[in-house]
Assembly symmetry: C2
DNA sequence: CTGCCGCCGTTCCTATAGGATTTGTGCCAT
DNA sequence: ATGGCACAAATCCTATAGGAACGGCGGCAG
């Protein structure tokens, strides 16, 4: 099977005009977030190629891109492994980084907020409130997704490509921690209230308050996670 | 020619136990910083492979990694291009991002500074002072290198992997701007004094002053570059 | 002279082949 | 029984082949 696309291309709809490596990238990202690939596990190039029924070349390219996100680590001539679980130290560093970037994003986003952006934010908070938060992972998956989306949207509304890129690098790690950090959802009600507070400041158009509320939120996230003290 | 390595590997010294894609990555990075690859220029995979006398596969992998640094952009099925020159808008965003990250780095670095780190910083400032700043690019190359090294060292001393990663993403762009921003070295004496001020605060061990001096420096860099008003 | 069309080269993209090295297993000797 | 060694499998890495699409160029019709 040389290429599966021409049939679709001839139909006038170049629908699948996407590179195979992109599909592999997204598949790997999803597997990483799903927990199907556990931290520390080896990610064999050939094996993954067999699993996805493609050749090793696109897998190699996808992994090369993924490495820069910190989700996987590469050792030359040894292969790729899923990044190990966060230690308490790692987590502290991650929160420190969030505290230096996210409040800035919040302040800028507040001054540059578009009506559509505000609507998206409101939707994210609404989704947080209505999302099921049952015990199984599949159940609170949408909750975590809305959480990440909220922060991502703020970074996007800050309207600064570099800050957005910087946040996105963190965002993947944050989301991965939410999944594998050892803590499930703790005090969802309070977390939602904190998000709401940020949103309110945005709606009011008070940049300083938005930044302050973001600081408050991240610090409390840190507090809750540290209190629940994962393993080690 | 299947593989050029075994001759060296048999000698007992697996000296060149490095992946070819790494060499390509470094070569491309150097070419990007040297100006041999001008902004906007197409970077053909096959062409680059011929030029470096390797197969397209390692080139593809190197470019995939490079994309995440923002140095090159990729359009699916069209290929890679060197990222275009900074607009004034881009530059303003970059400085905004620096202002939200570098002072934090400076503050943290000040509290966590090691003696060796301080020595490295002093060396960097010393190199700034002694570096030639002639008209030709090759002459002030070492000046720019020392400038970048100073900021990079501070990010490293902040001892936070995420902040370091965030800075490094910016660092490449900053360095690229220093080269292609249209402005050469303006007011080197004043820039050196600003670096020295940051270093002094670090030596004294005054985190707040270090952060303040860093803010001052970045803002003045922005001022100088904006005043010199590149094209457009 | 101008506009359109087919041809050819280039390029991206994926698959496949094969060399080099590491890892695991089973067998043999001590 | 245990330690060491050979063989085999898996893996990484690079090169090569070939399909599909895009772009430029020359020739031909109007």
């Amino acid at each position: 099977m040389p290429a599966p696309s021409p049939s679709a291309a001839r139909a006038g709809f170049p629908v699948s005009r996407q590179v195979l490596a992109d599909h592999v990238y997204e598949a790997l990202l999803e597997w990483l977030m799903d927990g199907r690939l556990e931290p520390g596990a080896a990610v064999s190039i050939d094996g993954m190629a067999r699993e996805l029924d493609v050749s090793p070349t696109p897998v190699r390219e996808a992994l090369a891109r993924l490495e820069h996100t910190g989700m996987v680590r590469r050792v030359a001539l040894k292969g790729y492994r899923v990044a190990p679980v966060f230690t308490r130290e790692d987590f502290a560093e991650l929160m420190e980084a969030r505290l230096s970037i996210e409040p800035v994003n919040a302040r800028l986003a507040c001054t540059r907020m578009t009506p559509e952006g505000l609507d998206s934010l409101k939707q994210a908070v609404e989704d947080l409130k209505t999302a099921p938060r049952g015990g199984s992972f599949a159940e609170y998956r949408s909750y975590l997704e809305a959480d990440e989306r909220f922060h991502q949207l703020i970074a996007a509304q800050a309207n600064n490509q570099f800050l957005l890129a910087a946040y996105n690098t963190l965002g993947g790690q944050i989301q991965r921690f939410r999944l594998f950090g050892g803590v499930g959802i703790t005090d969802a009600e309070q977390a939602i209230a904190e998000h709401q507070a940020v949103l309110d400041a945005m709606t009011t158009g008070d940049p300083e308050k938005a930044a302050a509320m973001m600081v408050d939120h991240v610090e409390k996230v840190r507090g809750r996670a540290m209190a629940d003290a994962p393993e080690e």
